[in-house]
């Protein structure tokens, strides 16, 4: 399975944000996108996820087979928001996303164990702290299987220990022949991944 992006370009409100971004990732590859504020990291991830239209270039997933006919079907997207309802319990939230996304991977209790929050399953999501919310949101990536992870500032709000834990989770995903594209301005602690730097708006 290969994720190929050729000459990607994107615009927001009619203004070009970036152009000519190319990369190629095969199974087990990670890509860390860095760059200053406003350089289009989040935009790039949303373009890859197909949530924003392409202004130029092409992106495709090769060799996904029957299971993953296109890129949208094959990816988990972790955005700035956690996509969880504060009125529902953690378990209800995760169970919903597991059933909605299909392809169950881990049990909910197991996924919560992996992010270090085994006790919170029956608590309303709204009661958790910012870092805990983020970790529950990361657990969502684990309850359904998707080969491609698109992570937008995944470690925002996490403490050092949780960051390390999350780095281990990402490494495990790469070991399982997954693909990760992460946008961040904090080093993620991933070994042997490709890097892409967007320069963006500061050029005149």
């Amino acid at each position: 399975m290969r994720l190929i992006a050729e000459n990607l370009g994107a615009e927001r409100g009619g203004e070009p944000v970036f152009s000519g971004v190319s990369f190629e990732l095969s199974e087990g590859d990670g890509l860390v996108v860095t760059g200053p504020n406003g350089s289009g990291k989040s935009t790039l991830l949303r373009v890859v996820a197909g949530l924003l239209p392409l202004a130029g270039g092409a992106i495709r997933l090769d060799g996904g087979g029957e299971d993953w006919p296109d890129l949208q079907a094959a990816c988990h997207y972790l955005g700035h928001q956690n996509a969880m309802k504060t009125a529902l319990t953690v378990e209800e939230n995760l169970r919903f996303w597991q059933e909605f996304c299909g392809a169950p991977h881990m049990e909910i209790a197991e996924a919560l164990e992996m992010v270090g929050l085994p006790q919170v399953a029956s608590l309303p999501f709204g009661y958790l702290s910012t870092g805990q919310k983020r970790r529950v949101s990361i657990a969502r990536l684990l309850v359904s299987w998707r080969p491609v992870w698109l992570l937008d500032e995944p470690t925002a709000g996490l403490d050092a220990a949780s960051e390390k834990q999350f780095a281990a989770l990402m490494a495990a995903h790469l070991q399982d022949d997954g693909i990760i594209v992460a946008a961040t301005h904090i080093p993620l602690g991933l070994e042997g991944v490709k890097a892409l730097r967007l320069e963006g708006a500061t050029r005149c």
Binding site: G13, G14, E15, A201, T202, R203, C204
Partner: protein
């Protein structure tokens, strides 16, 4: 826009370029304005020299402007629907400009047709307003225009506003026949059709010609106004883009200065 495009099919692709469109509009607008003024003057003169209706008297002259207004209210919505298709299906860059520019013009024509209609209705039916099927449908059309105007103005990003407006316009276009049909049903259920007959006597040629001239004149005026509104809208977008670029440039200068100072 559809009219100009239909007149010069070869220019359809040229029109996609806003600069060329503005150039074309600059050339066309004075001529169209003059022509529509001429035709309108002729039409109104004909209208006032036409014989009075033996039943309706002088009030029948309102018809010569009322009918074209009502006609244009519908034409304008059709143009907006076609332009919406242009936005969603063919992604024609000027289609959304056309929708945004047409909505206020359509609303004004619809309002004018309602006003002239009720001025005509007062002496004829003895009341300013009746919940007649046709009047009600036009009133609903007016409400839809206002809703669309509110929508196109409420969203900041012109691209997003255009697509949202296009979806609503098309849903409305599908709905208009249903509304018309349902209002007809509602009306016949509540009051027999004998009370009001908008048709009046079958039109006599002495009235038909002034009416047609007026209709053509108002249509030309509509095309002129639409072209002008589209041109204004394109300019407005350019100004917005330039302002954004200016903001961006200021930001770059600032960070450049900071980096140099470091």
């Amino acid at each position: 826009m559809s009219e100009t495009a239909a007149a010069r099919p070869a220019r359809w692709s040229d029109l996609a370029n806003p600069t060329r469109f503005i150039a074309l509009a600059d050339r066309l607008v004075p001529w169209l304005a003059a022509l529509s003024a001429l035709v309108l003057a002729l039409g109104l003169w004909l209208a006032f020299s036409a014989p009075e209706d033996y039943q309706q008297g002088i009030t029948v002259r309102i018809m010569y402007i009322h009918v074209p207004f009502a006609w244009l209210a519908m034409i304008c919505y059709s143009i907006m629907a076609v332009s919406s298709l242009g936005t969603l299906v063919w992604r024609h860059p000027l289609a959304d400009v056309s929708v945004k520019a047409a909505a206020p013009i359509g609303a004004v024509f619809t309002l004018l047709s309602l006003i002239t209609g009720s001025i005509w209705g007062k002496p004829m039916w003895g009341t300013w307003w009746v919940w007649d099927a046709r009047l009600t449908s036009v009133f609903v059309l007016f409400l839809m225009y206002l809703g669309l105007i509110a929508l196109t103005r409420a969203l900041d990003d012109p691209g997003k506003a255009a697509k949202a407006a296009a979806v609503v316009t098309l849903v409305g276009f599908v709905n208009i026949p249903i509304i018309k049909f349902s209002v007809d049903w509602w009306n016949t259920l509540h009051q027999p059709a004998s009370v009001i007959r908008l048709d009046g006597p079958t039109i006599h040629p002495t009235m038909l010609w002034p009416l047609l001239t007026c209709a053509i004149g108002f249509t030309l005026m509509f095309v002129t106004l639409h072209l002008m509104a589209m041109r204004t809208e394109i300019w407005r977008r350019r100004v917005a883009a330039m302002r954004r670029m200016a903001a961006r440039a200021a930001d770059a200068k600032e960070t450049g200065g900071r980096e140099a100072g470091r």
